[in-house]
């Protein structure tokens, strides 16, 4: 893990939705590894690399808040898109005001985390891709606040601020051990998009994230640097 980075992310709200409470959203207590990966990918990602989250530091107190939002009830059917591609005239838009659902959400307030992660090169790596190059690109982008799309905390509507942690690690307000139960680790895209879970335990505000278990196709082809 020579090329590890530590990024501090924070925002006003966050919602790391529990899969079982997805319709009426309830957030996990802390950021999930897959959400952390999403933040890093928003800053720098290429097919040649894959981010691996090692640790998540929970800096602020875990506080919940309720909000209600109007959301749509349906998706645009894939079939409509297919027939549009074949040249048929179909309606591809969705009228949000006619297809509305009010949904309640239990979200996090004032979250702040440090994501410790490294990246691995994948089998898509080209002749000019070296770990040094991608590390330097990523770090430069983090220093300058550049991103491909705005990183967010679980849901697109909760944007995240971010900065590279270069000096001392910010201190967490949590002390002692806290069991957070089973938490989503990531989706195993190689195995029919199966969700993988891990037992999240927070020691003094730090959660160690295990590696994806066996079976992840992308894992096998990736080479850790």
């Amino acid at each position: 893990m020579g090329y590890g980075v530590a990024v501090k992310v924070w925002g006003d709200y966050a919602c790391f939705t529990r899969p079982e409470m997805k319709a009426e959203r309830v957030s996990y207590d802390v950021m999930t590894p897959s959400a952390a990966r999403g933040v890093l990918e928003a800053i720098h990602w290429k097919p040649a690399l894959r981010w691996v989250v090692d640790r998540i530091h929970v800096l602020n107190e875990i506080r919940f808040d309720n909000i209600r939002r109007n959301e749509v009830a349906s998706k645009i059917p894939a079939r409509n898109v297919e027939s549009a591609m074949k040249g048929k005239e179909v309606e591809l838009c969705q009228y949000a005001s006619e297809d509305r659902q009010q949904r309640a959400a239990l979200v996090l307030r004032d979250p702040a985390y440090v994501i410790e992660a490294h990246f691995a090169l994948t089998d898509q790596v080209g002749p000019t891709d070296t770990p040094e190059k991608h590390y330097n690109i990523a770090v430069r982008r983090m220093r300058q606040g550049q991103c491909y799309h705005r990183p967010y905390l679980g849901c697109r509507e909760f944007p995240a601020q971010f900065e590279l942690v270069e000096g001392e690690m910010p201190t967490s307000c949590h002390r002692g051990e806290r069991d957070l139960g089973w938490m989503l680790l990531d989706i195993d895209y190689a195995d029919n998009m199966t969700p993988r879970f891990f037992r999240a335990v927070m020691h003094d505000g730090v959660i160690d994230v295990p590696a994806m278990p066996e079976g992840g196709g992308r894992l096998d082809s990736a080479e850790s640097v």
Binding site: E24, G181, W182, M193
Partner: protein, 631 residues
């Protein structure tokens, strides 16, 4: 952690024979009738098993039956217990035409054939013989059904009984064995195998979770906590609850445990529109009861005044939101005494924990607030803490709220009364749906009260041109807590329980002044004719503007007051008081901000309360405000 904690609770409940929770493969259902069958499957008579103890209306009796399917659409029969549409192939809902549902009856027969095929049990044989021999088209002519025809065909559940044998056929060991094997086979055939997000184990995943019953305001057939009933909720091409993989056994366990809590009298509370359940992570009956009493005090004094108007307003008034069933609630006297001790300690300004005796303050409590949204149940709040810490926080909430009360009121006020105090015409249904959860969270965690609560209270007071004790108490609590959390010491402020004559805060003084002006007006009117009542007092006309823009209102009021003072009894005394207050004031501010408006209201309320305290046999003005309070 919610599902996990509920599943743990289910494990504990299974070990406790008194809890009466269903074992896997069974569920609770309300049953209205039992068909008494002969061994040859002939319907001998119908036994009415409904419960008449709940008053005039007969209620279905709850019993453990083979687990019922969730029927959103289509035809799916239940084993051994179903409604008339499936049992006899006929339904006749109120005032609707007779409907012959042969397809449902066929589904019922097919299911029983599948489960009971080849069984030698006389009960099983009787049921099969009955189902095969029955003709839905001729059901209405059956003489046995005739006397209860309307009720039977109306839709209540029916079970079977074998003539001469004790118990119901679904309780016969051989039938249970068959059913359990059938369930196990079905689970084994489940192709959705995956990681369970509650236990982390690999196993069959439940496709649909059962409904919860007893969440206030939800659909009568129940609503699900975990459901994916619209396309927008699903991800990664997964269907139904495969989106949230929960093992079959866990899904059954958590729903059963939650239904147990929702059915229980001691573990369920209604806090405004949200149904709240709570449980201890271990055996702690007394703690649970004490907590229920503490969070939702039973308010013995108020039922005569404010609440009576509600319950008489109509059958569907606020009865499903306000906890009108409090009268029926039987709390353990030890729990009530415990709460009394805690609140007494708080009133003396001592730590709440001193009032805790005979209980374990370290028991962990889980609190889950639920509210309905269509066919779904949403989580309003979720909180885990120790019993002692919860008592401290709740006691702090009541201490912050404590304020001088008129004689017809008794504190502490439960949350639903606070919500009511923010709603137009005291109609709980018109209050903001988010407040209840947010206030409860502040109460349980000791955090700042929701900002919306304070502004809602001010807006309500301005609209009604009056302050009631609940509003004053909550405004005081908001101000006290804001000061404490922002590090300001409230010592010099006006946030006392009763009138603070030393306070020099201008908004507070203006509030007191307004109370005096109203007082002299009332006295002046009462002097000529004690029975006289003003069409509109200065409060009705000026309260809102006086609390927001004093400079534009007070000079007018003071001029007016000179006439009243001249007329009133004790006019000179009032004049002196008014002069005293004006003397401490440094001119009239042009406007008061939201925080100052709260101070104004407190000053007004405290001063008016002080009038009553000095003269318990109140004169004209007191009568007027009592009447207005009750409107």
């Amino acid at each position: 952690m919610i599902l996990q904690s509920l599943y743990d609770l289910y494990g504990r409940l299974l070990d406790d024979p008194e809890s009466g929770v269903s074992k896997p493969g069974y569920s609770k259902a309300g049953v209205s009738f039992a068909f008494n069958l002969s061994e040859s499957g002939e319907l001998l008579d119908v036994i009415d098993v409904r419960d008449a103890s709940g008053g005039k209306k007969l209620r279905a009796r709850e019993m453990d039956v083979p687990r019922q399917v969730k029927r959103a659409y289509g035809i799916r029969a239940n084993f051994m217990c179903d409604n008339s549409g499936y049992m006899i192939g006929v339904t006749q809902q109120k005032s609707k035409e007779l409907e012959i549902t042969t397809a449902k009856h066929d589904a019922m027969r097919a299911l029983h054939d599948e489960v009971l095929e080849g069984s030698g049990d006389p009960g099983a044989k009787a049921v099969l013989a009955f189902l095969h021999g029955w003709d839905p088209a001729r059901a209405q002519d059956c003489p046995v059904l005739a006397p209860l025809w309307k009720d039977i065909s109306g839709g209540g559940n029916i079970v079977f009984k074998l003539d001469g044998a004790s118990g119901y056929i679904h309780d016969r060991p051989s039938v249970r064995g068959r059913w359990e094997r059938y369930c196990a086979d079905k689970t084994d055939g489940n192709e959705n195998v995956g990681y369970c997000l509650v236990t982390g184990k690999v196993g069959p995943i439940a496709r649909i979770h059962d409904n919860l019953k007893g969440v206030t305001g939800a659909q009568p057939s129940g609503a699900a906590l975990v459901s994916f009933n619209l396309a927008a909720f699903t991800s990664y091409g997964k269907e139904q609850n495969i989106n949230a993989p929960v093992g079959e056994e866990v899904a059954f366990g958590y729903v059963t445990a939650l239904n147990y809590l929702l059915r229980s009298k001691d573990n369920r509370m209604r806090i405004a529109d949200s149904t709240t359940v709570f449980w201890a992570e271990g055996p702690a009956r007394l703690e649970e009861e004490a907590f229920a009493e503490l969070v939702n005090p039973s308010q013995p004094g108020t039922r005569g005044s404010e609440e009576s108007s509600d319950s008489e307003a109509g059958p569907d008034s606020s009865s499903d939101i306000a906890p009108n069933d409090q009268a029926k609630m039987q709390r353990d006297p030890r729990a009530t005494r415990l709460v009394h001790d805690v609140l007494a300690k708080v009133a003396e300004g001592r730590p709440a924990r001193e009032g805790l005796s005979g209980v374990d303050p370290d028991v962990r409590f889980c609190i889950l607030g639920l509210s309905p949204n269509n066919a779904r149940v949403s989580v309003r709040f979720w909180y885990v803490s120790s019993f002692g810490a919860l008592v401290d926080q709740v006691a702090q909430h009541y201490a912050d709220m404590s304020i001088a009360l008129p004689t017809w009121e008794t504190g502490p006020f439960p949350i639903w009364r606070v919500i009511k105090a923010t709603a137009p015409l005291g109609d709980l249904k018109r209050a903001s749906p988010l407040l209840a959860g947010a206030i409860t969270r502040s109460m349980l965690m000791g955090t700042a009260y929701p900002e919306g609560l304070y502004t809602a209270l001010l807006a309500r007071i301005r609209a009604d041109q009056d302050v009631n004790p609940v509003q004053a108490a909550m405004i005081k609590a908001c101000l006290v807590r804001r000061d404490r959390l922002s590090g300001k010491t409230a010592k010099e402020g006006s946030h006392t329980v009763s009138l603070n004559e030393q306070c020099t805060d201008s908004a507070y003084l203006l509030g007191r002044l307004f109370a005096w002006l109203e007082r002299v007006q009332a006295n002046a009117v009462a002097k000529g004719n004690p029975e006289a009542k003003l069409q509109s007092t200065i409060r009705d006309r000026y309260f809102g503007s006086a609390s927001a823009t004093p400079r534009s209102v007070f000079p007018v009021l003071l001029r007016l007051a000179q006439h009243h003072i001249a007329k009133a009894d004790y006019g000179e005394y009032a004049d002196k008081q008014i002069e005293g207050i004006i003397g401490s004031l440094d001119g009239f501010p042009a406007y008061l901000d939201l925080e100052q408006q709260g101070e104004f209201i407190l000053g007004y309320y405290h001063q008016r309360q002080a009038f009553y305290e000095k003269k318990p046999a109140a004169t004209g003005s007191a009568n007027v405000s009592v009447k207005e309070e009750q409107q």
